[in-house]
């Protein structure tokens, strides 16, 4: 059921995020500005300055403190938000692991940007891909609308008691963060109802009581202890369980959200575009899928059985969905906006190819590294990818498995 009184506002991706955070009436926002995330922090500061939110806004002296304060506020029972990109996310690195290990459901928007050196402020996925093992749920969105919707969904996913993990929502720097779009918004009440009050898992304290998991003088508990060889491993295994539960929860929240908004993003994990009978399939994350859809349509019109799989959820990795969606393809190309130096292709390529390994028949999978440091990629360049796939499908010769798109050779 679509929403009755539909309201549309012109927002860039960052503004859409800030607006969603405002509607979620988050308790604490702790953040530090960095291009191309800055607009999120600035817009939110305006909401604070104009008394439009009840949020405690902590404009920290660094990203390390921003994530720390988000984490500690979260452990105190608050609903928290932060945002960053590139160098800022890299500076948070240590604390990202602490946040997930502390099971704090912090929500963070990442306006994805290249990492230095050389310094570059433009969009690619190097920053968040470098954090893939930090224990955060990772979503990558296609447009400003999805950025808005995903921030709202993020609270419901992260705060589920059986998940209780932090989540990052990646939106491509500049391409999404700074481009104006029409964004359909929900009413404040609809958002409030949808996300509900923060849920807290129960834990057993040293006083022998089972109490909600938060720093509360009424129920003292010790968080962030030392765990040695005898217990550390167990806590890591628990985190993995949270991730597994997130796989289910993301899909549920995606459907629940569809009910109030009329919008959904595939099954929440992957977004399939004309995949049913597709022979040549491109897999990508983020905004590139917008352009790729147009190309798929063009190719379809010429009789090419092209399809697109947008990986919306990178962590937890939807292995089964990937397997099923790609098993009948004749050739697959995975697009990566980051590099894993000295490895075998980019991060998404590793994961997608690895997911297919156990299938009895699996298609050849090649990798394109593209768009680094905001390098433009034209529709005609993206078409080359499909042409290459058609060639592979025809000849069975994979050729170079890792390729660069849009690079001067």
């Amino acid at each position: 059921m679509a929403q009755q009184n539909k309201k549309t506002l012109a927002f860039n991706g960052d503004e859409a995020v800030a607006f969603a955070v405002k509607q979620c009436n988050v308790d604490v926002v702790a953040a530090y500005p960095i291009t191309p995330q800055t607009i999120i922090v600035e817009r939110f500061s305006e909401y604070v300055a104009n008394g439009e939110v009840q949020t405690q806004f902590v404009c920290t002296e660094s990203e390390h403190s921003a994530i720390t304060a988000s984490l500690s506020a979260s452990t105190t029972g608050a609903r928290t938000f932060t945002a960053s990109a590139s160098a800022g996310l890299a500076l948070m690195h240590e604390m990202l692991f602490v946040t997930s290990g502390s099971r704090a459901p912090v929500v963070m928007a990442i306006a994805n940007r290249a990492l230095s050196a050389p310094l570059n402020i433009h969009g690619d996925h190097s920053d968040s891909m470098a954090q893939r093992d930090s224990g955060w749920i990772q979503l990558y969105v296609e447009n400003a609308q999805e950025a808005y919707d995903s921030i709202i969904q993020a609270y419901k996913i992260a705060e589920s008691c059986d998940v209780s993990l932090p989540i990052m929502v990646g939106l491509d720097g500049f391409t999404l963060s700074h481009s104006l779009e029409n964004v359909d918004i929900l009413s404040d009440e609809a958002v409030t109802d949808f996300i509900g009050e923060r849920q807290l898992p129960q834990v057993l304290t040293h006083e022998g009581k089972s109490v909600p998991f938060k720093l509360d003088p009424k129920n003292p508990m010790t968080m962030g202890p030392v765990a040695f060889q005898n217990y550390y491993f167990e806590f890591k295994r628990q985190q993995e369980e949270g991730m597994k539960n997130a796989l289910k929860r993301i899909q549920e929240v995606n459907s629940e959200f569809a009910k109030i908004s009329g919008r959904c993003y595939g099954n929440g994990l992957i977004d399939k575009y004309k995949l049913e009978d597709a022979e040549v399939i491109v897999v990508c994350a983020g905004s590139t899928s917008g352009t790729l859809k147009v190309i798929v349509d063009e190719l379809r019109a010429c009789g090419v059985k092209a399809g697109l799989l947008r990986l919306r959820t990178f962590r937890p990795l939807p292995v089964e969905d990937l397997k099923n969606a790609l098993k009948n393809a004749k050739a697959v190309a995975v697009m990566d906006k980051s590099m894993s130096f000295g490895g075998f292709g980019g991060a998404i390529f590793h994961e997608v190819r690895h997911s297919l390994y156990d299938s009895p028949v699996h298609p050849p999978v090649i990798n394109y590294i593209y768009g680094l440091g905001g390098r433009d990629y034209s529709p005609s360049e993206l078409r080359i990818v499909f042409d290459d796939l058609a060639e592979i499908a025809k000849t069975g010769d994979t050729g170079k498995q890792v390729r660069y798109l849009g690079l001067r050779e």
């Binding site: 720390t68 452990t75 029972g77 602490v98 040293h206 030392v226």
Partner: protein
């Protein structure tokens, strides 16, 4: 400061149950452990404690055991003040939304590494933003948890594992960073120094720091017999000698106005009671190499510096 003077007897404090519990794994004779107990004796109501990585964090939270009978959070080494900032922000937000009625005190605790060095940025940031919390630095003058390395708080002359007493270099050459001056320069309402030997003075200062409506900073001297190569039994004696030699004078500054606290005032009033720093260095293995003919000049130089600092402090306390 808003509330009335806190009056207590030794017996009041003795019967107040420990919130830093026995069974922690600090070395025998650990100065910081006494400091933890005393900090918690001064709490006045609902309190949340957050702590930087370091000896006191490790010895008190080895899973499944905890020595903290208050809500307690550790996240990392360099960010105790940022932890406090987030906790305080959460409290304020929940109070504003009517989800929380009571006042909650927030205490951040860190060693000298977590304060002078790696934690200085987050501390400075949190203080500049004016969060309502008390930061207690327990200064054992080195990175003890990782095996006695130098910190910005290690005094000159001391041997540590990264400033060993070599045949050419006699221990740490650099001076101790003037951390309280740095904190005072932030314009804090309350900055003080204390040692656990003068425990009444110390807990009074903890309480005053809590009563401040905003950030407060307390620098507590806390000998580590393990790292100082000193007699376990003398831990508290050194915290007395440090005051008597004016190596670590005790004072407090309310709104920047510095005043000597009684133990140091006694020495200011009767200068003949001021002991030579040798009395304090003696018995500490970390200074042993200074008592050789080759290095004895270092002690003379350190004595001169100590006298100079003391003189400055006296002038400072008088002129304001």
């Amino acid at each position: 400061m808003t509330t009335q003077e806190w009056k207590f007897t030794s017996k009041d404090i003795a019967v107040k149950p420990d919130l830093f519990l026995s069974g922690h794994r600090a070395c025998a004779g650990c100065g910081p452990a006494t400091v933890m107990r005393l900090i918690m004796k001064a709490t006045r109501g609902p309190t949340i404690v957050t702590q930087a990585t370091g000896c006191m964090e490790v010895v008190s939270s080895i899973y499944p055991y905890t020595s903290w009978n208050v809500p307690w959070l550790h996240t990392a080494f360099e960010n105790a003040a940022a932890n406090a900032a987030g906790i305080e922000a959460a409290i304020k937000a929940m109070q504003r939304k009517g989800k929380l009625k009571e006042h909650i005190d927030v205490i951040a605790i860190a060693g000298d590494g977590g304060t002078f060095d790696i934690g200085l940025q987050s501390l400075s940031g949190a203080v500049e933003r004016g969060h309502d919390f008390l930061f207690v630095l327990y200064d054992n003058e080195g990175y003890m948890n990782t095996g006695i390395q130098r910190s910005g708080g290690t005094p000159s002359g001391a041997a540590t594992t990264t400033t060993p007493a070599g045949s050419v270099i006699p221990g740490k050459l650099e001076r101790k960073k003037p951390i309280t001056e740095i904190m005072l320069a932030h314009g804090m309402e309350y900055v003080a120094t204390a040692t656990p030997y003068y425990w009444k003075d110390m807990i009074t200062k903890v309480r005053k720091g809590l009563e401040v409506d905003g950030p407060a900073f307390l620098h507590v001297f806390a000998p580590c017999p393990r790292g100082w190569r000193s007699d376990q039994a003398k831990t508290m004696e050194y915290t007395k000698l440090a005051v008597e030699t004016c190596i670590f004078p005790v004072w407090e500054a309310v709104n920047g106005k510095k005043q000597l606290s009684t133990p140091s005032k006694v020495i200011a009033l009767a200068p003949q009671k001021k002991k030579p720093i040798k009395d304090y260095f003696k018995g500490q293995g970390r200074f042993r190499h200074l008592f050789t003919p080759k290095n004895i000049h270092v002690i003379d130089e350190l004595q001169r510096l100590t006298d100079e600092n003391w003189k400055k402090l006296l002038q400072n306390c008088e002129s304001k």
